[in-house]
Subunit: 784 residues, 2 copies
């Protein structure tokens, strides 16, 4: 068996471990040039020691194979709470100092590196956007492996290593993402090397995968489609040997799989990809016991093993012994610079993990080739005179983008099994759905190199897309509106990442994360109540305003304009809510462009407001179904109360309702009042939960006059019109709202009000008798 010269690797590893412990504990005396005293110790001891020595080992051994093979690589650090480990290694390799020149690679730099860690005004305790080489925070666990695959897609020369902690491995998103290898094309994609780090413990418990019998673990990992290579031990020298061997074996296997696939013509079976199982003690090389309790190799090593260092002289002595056990004087010269031996394994230039452009994807990003919108516009001779499925119209545009990126391969569409159902199936004219398993004659559109990605896991879809975007590519996530909540927590983390990244001058902007939420709350004809939840927008709009946007295009042409806009945008999370069912075409492409540029505007053709003064009432709408009902209500008012000055306002970009000071898209009060007035009743038909509109507009002068209709959790398997009636969003209810709210109208329009109430009953009875909506609803279109 090959014996590796490991002195250099061990020196690098010890140096990294030393730097981790230093970051957790030391304010001063970084090189231990004098005996350790209480005043050298930070007053608040924060950070996660337990996972760090394992991360240091992985970084060290990745360095070796990257350097030896000239292998372009990126690493995703699942246990990102082990932030000091990644910081330590990037400081050692020099990428940290290149990114932050005031933290030199010398003793003074080391002092600053230590002090700033988890210190107010310093750097966070986790791997973060601030960390060179990172695309993954690793605080909320579960997404490392999906991020790694996202980074590997369409990067055929890239190795993406991914450390998965055994805590993280218990999460659902991680468990699902093992199957990503069924979607990775060995010809056109890079490779992912999972490194399952079994250090045995979470915060207070053993982990499942570390304790199940080894045969079960082996069976599980083979069941995931991997060939596991085991590295086990606590003796550093033998672990170094085993790790070096496993790394080389893994790299060789990857090369073999790629070669075999790439010389063929796609006629090969998926082979198990290698992975490494690294079983080393938690808090390895740290204090074995503290105050009589075992620490190294137990859950007690999770955060700060010695907690009383400033107050307890015995703890202080133990810390000094621990730090000196790495023999820092052999690792750093008298100026505090890492020695040649320590740096021997470090790869050159951009091959360093902290320097790769793949972790700062904006550096690699190219604008998408977007088609002329006019080529995709639907012709609109008359407002509401025709019907289109908006997402189908969008599908044609996306197909153009997919076609134009065939060579570049930097655009993907992800979703949980709904691309065709969401009417985006034109895409299959130019690409397939990624799939590496056997196919059957009845299958359609499956292809090894397909750039539509479908797996019934919203978590995996989101993780893939995040990884893809963070490494400098483009994409779209199309999914059920209700089930976007499944990734609530993931999108919150991505917004936090983008917010922080935007403030870092060295991080180049990346493509936005774009959602198309379709199969929305109003059209769950097949599925009913469980599939009705328009609250994802509420969740997203709680987050950093510089990052988040939400759009409600009311028809096909506005959807095209919005899609074009978001695909050009950077560093944002854009939510588009648009139906897949036939929808009236309200605006020409020219009108749509003007309207979307404003984000909200008066549709004067739909109202009876003559523009010379204040209207009697404003009918506002956001969303395709509410827009239809508002226009139908406006038509009823025009017919029955022709003297009433009705203004129709449509809102595409919902953040426009917020004050300018609260959101970059927010309107000034003058702009807001010019649309909604300061004192006229506003009946606002909104796609989602009605109070969102109040939360956005509460500061407006006219807010006391704002009355919002929307979804209020009333639903089941029923007809589309019954859904709007149940939630008081229907045209008749809106007319009744106008009559109730316009001063002086109640008496004058009592008969009309009764008529409207009767209509609601008539529809209700018809629907329950026939199971369908009345033809007059289905066939309705703007009659003027």
């Amino acid at each position: 068996m090959t014996q590796y010269p490991i002195a250099e690797l061990d020196a690098h590893w010890r140096a990294a471990n030393y730097l981790v412990a230093g970051q957790i504990y030391l304010m001063d005396n970084p090189l231990l040039t004098e005996p350790l005293r209480a005043e050298h110790i930070k007053p608040r001891l924060l950070g996660h020691w337990g996972t760090s020595p394992g991360l240091d080992l992985v970084y060290t051994h990745l360095n070796r194979v990257i350097r030896e093979r000239g292998q372009e690589a990126l690493c995703v650090w699942g246990p990102g709470h082990g932030g000091p480990a990644v910081l330590a290694n990037s400081w050692l390799e020099g990428s940290y100092t290149e990114t932050y020149p005031d933290i030199g690679r010398d003793g003074e730099g080391m002092r600053k590196l230590f002090r700033q860690f988890s210190f107010p005004g310093g750097v966070p305790s986790h791997v973060a956007p601030e960390t060179p080489g990172s695309i993954h925070e690793g605080g909320e666990l579960g997404y490392s492996l999906a991020h790694a695959y996202g980074a590997a897609f369409d990067n055929p020369d890239l190795l993406v290593a991914c450390v998965i902690g055994d805590g993280e491995a218990e999460t659902g998103p991680l468990a699902a993402s093992w199957h990503s290898n069924k979607f990775l094309d060995p010809v056109r994609d890079g490779s992912v090397l999972p490194i399952l780090h079994l250090n045995g413990y979470k915060i207070a418990n053993p982990t499942v995968l570390a304790r199940i019998p080894e045969t079960e673990l082996d069976s599980l990992l083979r069941g995931y489609g991997h060939e596991p290579l085991y590295v086990t031990g606590s003796d550093p020298l033998s672990v170094h040997q085993a790790m070096a061997r496993a790394m080389d074996r893994a790299m060789d296997l990857i090369s073999e799989i790629r070669r075999e696939a790439r010389i063929g013509k796609g006629d090969f079976a998926r082979r198990p990809w290698p992975m490494i199982v690294l079983r080393t003690p938690k808090g390895w090389t740290g204090p074995a016991t503290v105050d009589g309790d075992p620490v190294e190799g137990t859950w007690r090593a999770h955060q700060v093993p010695l907690a009383g260092v400033r107050e307890n002289p015995e703890h202080l002595r133990m810390l000094e012994r621990w730090l000196r056990s790495y023999r820092p004087q052999e690792l750093f010269d008298s100026e505090g610079r890492p020695t040649e031996q320590v740096l021997a394994c470090v790869p050159p230039g951009d091959l360093r993990l902290g320097a790769t452009a793949h972790a700062d994807g904006g550096r690699l990003l190219r604008p998408l080739p977007l088609p002329d919108l006019d080529a995709h516009a639907v012709a609109v001779d008359k407002h509401g005179g025709s019907l289109h499925e908006p997402t189908r119209v969008l599908g044609a545009l996306l197909t153009d983008v997919m076609r134009e990126t065939e060579e570049r391969r930097d655009f993907r569409v992800v979703g949980p099994d709904e691309t065709a159902s969401n009417r985006l199936d034109d895409l299959f004219d130019v690409t397939g759905k990624a799939w590496q398993e056997e196919t059957e004659p009845t299958d359609v559109h499956l292809a090894r190199g397909g750039r539509v990605m479908e797996i019934l896991s919203e978590h995996t879809c989101q993780g893939w897309l995040e990884g893809y975007l963070l490494t400098g590519r483009h994409g779209l996530f199309s999914t059920y509106e209700a089930f976007a909540h499944i990734v609530d927590s993931m999108v919150a983390q991505h917004v936090k990442w983008l917010r922080t990244a935007r403030a870092l001058p060295w991080r180049a902007p990346i493509a936005s994360l774009n959602y198309l939420l379709t199969s929305h709350v109003w059209r769950q004809d097949h599925n009913g109540f469980s599939h009705q939840d328009p609250g994802f927008v509420d969740h997203v709009l709680n987050k950093s305003p510089e990052v988040v946007r939400a759009y409600f295009p009311p028809d096909a042409n506005t959807l095209l304009v919005v899609a074009d806009h978001v695909l050009r945008s950077r560093d944002q999370v854009n939510v588009i809510v648009a139906g897949k069912q036939p929808c009236f075409d309200w605006l020409t492409m020219d009108e749509a462009q003007t309207h979307c540029a404003r984000g909200a505007g008066i549709w004067d053709w739909a109202g009876t407001d003559d523009g010379t003064g204040e209207p009697d009432v404003v009918l506002a709408c956001a969303g395709d179904v509410p827009t239809q009902e508002v226009l139908a209500a406006a038509a009823l008012l025009r017919e029955h109360l022709p003297s009433l000055a009705v203004r129709v306002v449509n809102v595409v970009d919902i953040a426009r309702l917020m004050p300018r000071e609260e959101h970059p898209h927010g309107m000034t009060d003058i702009e807001y009042d010019s649309l909604f007035t300061a004192d006229t009743p506003v009946i606002f038909a909104y796609h989602g939960y009605p109070w969102l509109i109040h939360r956005l507009a509460y500061r407006r002068t006219g807010h006391p006059h704002l009355h919002v209709r929307g979804y209020k959790e009333s639903g089941t398997t029923t007809t589309p019109f019954d859904m709007v009636v149940r939630n008081d969003l229907d045209r008749y209810r809106l007319v009744m709202d106008v009559i109730d709210r316009v001063p002086g109208l109640a008496g004058r329009a009592a008969a009309l009000r009764q008529n409207m109430a009767d209509q609601r009953i008539r529809h209700h009875d018809w629907i329950r008798a026939h199971g369908t909506d009345l033809p007059e609803i289905v066939d309705w279109s703007w009659p003027y």
Copy 2:
């Protein structure tokens, strides 16, 4: 090999399949007593055929073993969108008619059963609360297996079968929940029999588990800790034989595992539990091809295989052929009643899956034995004169409950690895953490029969607890506030379930789903920005108001009162946000009880409002950290502006802010104004996103005078006081807000305002220099 007499099973299965197709298609002519005509067909064809024949097969064969063995059983139908299958079977066994007497078990009942399905005013298309025998909706996929385990815990005689669709199996939550068997005690818990139904396809794609090589699948399932039993085929007769054999084998293995465990003294190793892999065609026995495309056995069978039946005579003929292929005249007598042969396999009475009390858990629920609160109250001689960790005080109360339920075993605490970290570790005095794997000498508190459940998967925790509650038991979920978002979508589904169940007279109320969100946004000292998200409450409060509640107890005694209240409540989702860090004790137990009963109240001891008139300003607070800052601000105002009439209002039950018409806990306007006034400036320091308060209170007369401070996504790894300063929630900022907003105060208090601004800078500088908060913050307490 045993040959089973299967004519009766096949008759039952055919009858169920017939009833499924009937529900999807027929308005009339249910028994095909006349040739099928277009007018017999529903105008909207809705429902999911694809999965249903498989569900029918499982129901049929479960019936057999339940009946033969007298086995108490419950089934969780993961593919709950196959609702017509479960409805069909419960109609056959009679439990449907017992629950809904107007749907008789005869021809007229069958006609109604068909017509009501997915029909406006009828029943939903999925398994739902309305479905007898159901605890699981199965619309949003991923939670079936965790629900099944939750149902099995502490039900030692129960068999919980769980059908897992191969689509669902791709989700993260499902993938994680396979490992639940590491937490199931064969002595004290029931057993779970997973039935993985590989029908091969999702909506438009093959599924991963159906297409990976069989060796990989087998390896995966063994890796999950199961012994898979395979049932494969499309010939009904041979599948019946294989399924009967597999069922018996599974039941025998389960009995063996239980017996072995129960005769021992806990000294046994976990053994692989049996599971069944059922590989049958999607849309089995439906049309083989439609319009030239293959349908049976493909993704095209997912919903309605023949879509044009009303318009297309050929489709109508195919439907009739399909329906008659089940030979309904053999299955139902001339009155439309199922024949004896069909019903031969049906178990008696409450053993029927549609009749088990476990699926209507409220029938089994007993009130929790809750201790006297005074026994746990912390002594408060002086407001804010002492500190306690509120969750530790709660932990002692929970420990009493755990002790008192030791025999009953109907209370569990779940959480992702944080019970001790959240200061609930007194629990380990009376129970352990459930764990079936090997233990090491350094492990603590692990026990086979432990009723604390820790796995690093919020999804699994939530699924277990939901299953446990739905089957009539009690529990608490303690977790990181930020990561509660991981289960956003699950809690939304549970609220929908409860909302619907509350309206069903036959469903008895169940214990509420109670969250303790701790490790909250303001105290992420170790973890920083990624762990800061107070938005779970926003998400929950968007849902049905009759179900949702959110509480912000400001100290230990109020937390006790709130916890006592929620543990007594029924059919609700209660969110409690309370810190685990030392917190001032503001209220005595008597005061806490009065205050919590009101939900919000004036703390007159903290203000300078003499009660004779309107205050000059209201300082309101909700949450432990905001309460501390408001009280500190009130003390500053008392010291520096003693003539200013300051009223301090604390809100525990945040829904009190909503209008009475919008939430059952909402205040009337008179109540609201009596606390907050109609025209005085209110400075509201809130725990979470500030706009939530506006969204709740926007209708109040005094709303224009309401100014809210809260978390606005500004955070990192820093000190607690730096966190409140960053988010403008600190005492100095609050005093500045008062000065800015009370009319006429700006001039008089300019020096104080400057002083406050200077204090903020002084603290900022100290924190950045020393890494800690100034002692005057840490030691502060209410000085009057």
